[in-house]
């Protein structure tokens, strides 16, 4: 059990890192892109805008921590 927890923690830190909100926002943005694309809307601009917002939120959290 201890090894499973360590294994899970390693992958969490590896992929998500110390800002889970940024990871959650990325997943939500991809979901929004998929939903808009399914409605035949041009979506190429969505992820760049989302990344700008995620970076702003993440940096703001980092410098005010």
């Amino acid at each position: 059990m201890k090894y499973l927890v360590s294994f899970g923690r390693f992958w969490w830190n590896f992929v998500v890192g110390d800002d889970w909100i940024a990871a959650a926002l990325v997943i939500a943005s991809i979901g929004a892109t998929a939903a808009l694309a399914a409605g035949n809307i041009a979506v190429w601009w969505v992820m760049p805008v989302a990344v700008a917002i995620v970076l702003y939120v993440s940096l703001r959290r980092a410098i005010t921590a």
Binding site: G17, T33, A37, A38, M47, P48, V54, S58, L59, I63
Partner: protein
């Protein structure tokens, strides 16, 4: 062609950065605990990484390309934004710069104080230190090579970029036998963060069902956007840091 160049360059840069860090640990382990233990640990880690790549590489190629791009794009974005955020914080003074000399000294001091523990003629501390260092840094390289390579349909091309970095870093490491402190590691990490984020944006959009104007050529536009966004973030944070320092000086 465009994506292929980006692919090799990204794999090369990301691998070089990780290998410089792994080299520092192997050197500290070798100097403090003996080269046999250090090099055996390094060799075992390289074999473990080769097994991981050999096992996962073919498995990834059978996943439908759009599903793969969606998942890989998302992973690269979360992963790349971590790199980019740290690089921006370092460049603006909110986080200490990565210093291989300092890390080498710290690892060396820790390795020298640990009690010797021999198993099969190998110092276990030196073996484990070297093995863990190379495996953990190497996993990031394996992750990047596999995700970039499989999504772009060419794991060998990504592996070639990583192999070129291995030859360069190992060659220079053997030649100088010292941490590669003069490598502009923070700049390289910034470049890797930009590359990972660029690919993450591009592939997650395609995987989610979107199309880029100009197809692969749009990568240049995304790259320019991420560079501009990063430069703007650094400039704004530097200004904020200066204001903080001035305010702290006024209070003192």
């Amino acid at each position: 062609m465009t994506a292929g160049v980006f692919l090799v360059l990204s794999a090369f840069l990301a691998s070089a950065v990780e290998m410089v860090e792994a080299l520092t640990i192997v050197l500290a382990s070798g100097v403090a605990r003996g080269w046999r233990s250090s090099l055996t640990g390094m060799g075992a880690a390289v074999v473990a990484l080769a097994v991981i790549v050999a096992a996962l590489g073919p498995a990834l190629t059978v996943i439908p390309i759009n599903a793969l791009r969606l998942v890989v794009g998302g992973l690269l974005l979360t992963f790349g934004l971590q790199w980019l955020r740290k690089a921006i914080l370092r460049a603006s003074g909110f986080k200490a710069l990565h210093d291989e000399d300092e890390i080498f000294s710290r690892e060396l001091a820790e390795a020298k104080t640990a009690a010797p523990l021999f198993r099969g003629g190998v110092d276990w501390y030196g073996f484990t230190l070297s093995f863990k260092g190379v495996l953990l840094e190497g996993l990031e390289v394996a992750f990047i090579v596999l995700t970039f390579g499989s999504t772009q349909g060419s794991i060998p091309l990504a592996a070639a970029g990583a192999a070129a970095a291995l030859v360069l870093v190992a060659g220079v490491g053997i030649a100088v036998r010292a941490p590669l402190a003069r490598v502009p590691e923070n700049t390289l990490k910034f470049a890797v963060g930009v590359m990972l984020t660029t690919f993450g944006i591009f592939w997650s959009t395609e995987g989610a069902g979107g199309n880029w104007p100009g197809s692969d050529a749009a990568l240049f536009g995304v790259l320019a956007f991420v560079i501009a966004l990063s430069a703007l973030s650094v400039a704004l944070l530097r200004r904020r840091k200066r204001e903080q320092l001035v305010a702290a000086g006024a209070r003192a």
